[in-house]
Symmetry: C2
Subunit: 329 residues, 2 copies
């Protein structure tokens, strides 16, 4: 059975392809009789329309391309879940591709999407502005998340890293902490860089001493950095990691050496992944799924109107738990 096409259906129903197409798409200028013959033939042949061909002639695919960096688990699933929720609500599919580290691979991945999707959502915190511009296929509506793009060049959603960091530092300052360590994400990553810069500034404002070192957003790197810190006898009473993963690694290192949290060192992270709640980690809640949902909604909404190039700030929120503040019970 070599895959029935609409022409096979037409032949079998003794009608033209035009009528079959109209019947299948629910046009009203089709006689009852023809409609029945079509559904009959479809059933007999097990015909399923070829979505690819349909997209080609309609110039509309009902799919959205999603290009993400190689994300740590929780963040990835949350953002995809948000997009998927909104997409399936509005009848779209998601075409997924991960963006490899190198810029040329990014270009390849993005171009492979041309003609398969109606729009793109791109998250590329590690690309330079011009690399990104070169890689984006022209003429495909896009929404950028946390990229280093010039404001106003594309529709974009940014996380308000500065507000999140300020809330944490103020909180730590209110607790009377004076010597902070910040484990930043990898240099070159927008979020890592923005957060680190904000930490430096907020600490200066609050009159807190601040030491910054680098991890790579993975749990292990947080653990290693913290271990090294303790090894060389650095004194600090607060540790703020660039994301929750690293904060969790730090917690392990601290506990392994018998440093009490939060008495000796208060610990905070960023993202509020589900794990954070279970471990009682103070953090900045990002509502990742909402971020994805919003990006998709914005992209789809832009289809009707002209292009959208607004910058939107996604506001995070401080969540205080046991690793700072008083220990309950």
């Amino acid at each position: 059975m070599p895959e029935a096409t609409i022409r096979d259906v037409a032949r079998r129903a003794k009608l033209s392809v035009a009528t079959v197409s109209r019947a299948l798409n629910g046009f009203d200028n089709v006689s009852e009789q023809a409609r029945e013959r079509v559904t009959q033939a479809v059933r007999e042949l097990g015909y399923v329309p070829h979505a690819g061909a349909r997209s080609l002639s309609l110039a509309r695919t009902n799919a959205i391309g999603v290009v993400l960096p190689d994300l740590h688990g929780e963040f990835f699933s949350e953002i995809v879940r948000g997009m998927d929720r909104e997409a399936s609500r509005r009848g779209y599919l998601l075409l997924l591709s991960n963006l490899h580290a190198r810029a040329e691979q990014a270009q390849l991945a993005l171009r492979a999407m041309h003609g398969r999707v109606d729009g793109l959502i791109v998250m590329a915190p590690h690309l330079k502005s011009e690399e990104l511009a070169a890689a984006l296929p022209p003429g495909v509506p896009s929404v950028l998340i946390n990229t280093r793009d010039k404001p106003g060049a594309h529709a974009a959603i940014h996380l308000d890293n500065v507000a999140g960091v300020r809330a944490v530092i103020e909180h730590l300052s209110n607790l009377g902490r004076k010597r902070l360590v910040h484990i930043a994400g990898p240099a070159g990553n927008v979020d890592a860089d923005e957060r680190a810069a904000a930490v430096r500034e907020a600490c200066a404002t609050a009159g807190i001493a601040c030491e910054i070192l680098h991890g790579n957003f993975e749990e292990q790197s947080g653990e290693r950095a913290t271990a090294a810190l303790l090894e060389r006898g650095h004194e600090f009473d607060a540790l703020f990691a660039g994301n929750d993963n690293m904060a969790i690694g730090a917690l392990q290192a601290l506990r392994a050496r018998g440093v009490s949290v939060p008495e000796q060192v208060a610990v905070a992270g960023f993202d509020d992944i589900p794990l954070a709640q279970h471990l009682g980690l103070t953090t900045v809640r990002v509502r990742i799924a909402e971020l994805g949902e919003r990006a998709l909604a914005r992209l789809l909404d832009s289809f009707g109107r002209g292009q959208d190039r607004g910058d939107e700030l996604h506001a995070p929120e401080l969540v205080v738990r046991a690793t700072t503040g008083k220990v309950k019970r």
Copy 2:
């Protein structure tokens, strides 16, 4: 700029579309001169090939459709990550759609993939065998994961629920536990049903009393079920949840009522999500990412050869942690 096509490139390079196509695809029967004129024209026009059109004429899309049920976070991200890893390694994209609970929606989702993908990976633990058969588009190679399909009807990968459950029950039995409670997943879900049946059987073999109640694989349901159990004064010294989420909920309920784990009640889960490790939960490690990777690999491998209808068993492995066995330290 209304989207350059290959014909525009041909016109600009003063060549035919055939030559342009050949040049772009790296055929060797193209003169050096022509090749240069093509790359020149491509650059000037900002031409990007239309992947949809290409797929149509090649009858090959380089994309794999992935249809998953509405999964809880960790499991979802792990399995997609595994697939994505293998897919990008082999030059494929992933077209994602979540399978809604109702069978007709499943059918719609699967059909929407026809003509857009070269193959399908379907995970539908809640569909009946004939619903699934009806929904699968004929002629599209597919790999099924944890479905209620007849053996040998399609290529399938199953989790060895029985082996996993047996390992847990034996472990609990070796610890001297005599009265077990199993919080199963939702009735109708293959994995939930298989695990519950295996629990019943293994307990009988081991001479353990066993009570089974139902949750829905969400953390809260595990918490509620456990709370209700304690409320009505049921006596038990072991609790085995159908997945880690519910086990974690159960842990909270137990701790909230001052029941000590593992002294009074030993607790185990299933899946080994990252959270399990952090909470010291004894569980059955599934290596979810590997499962996804394997499904994709198997699908792609089947393209060369004829169709594949083998059943494959993915073996899980017991991981003993603090919530059973002796408490270390």
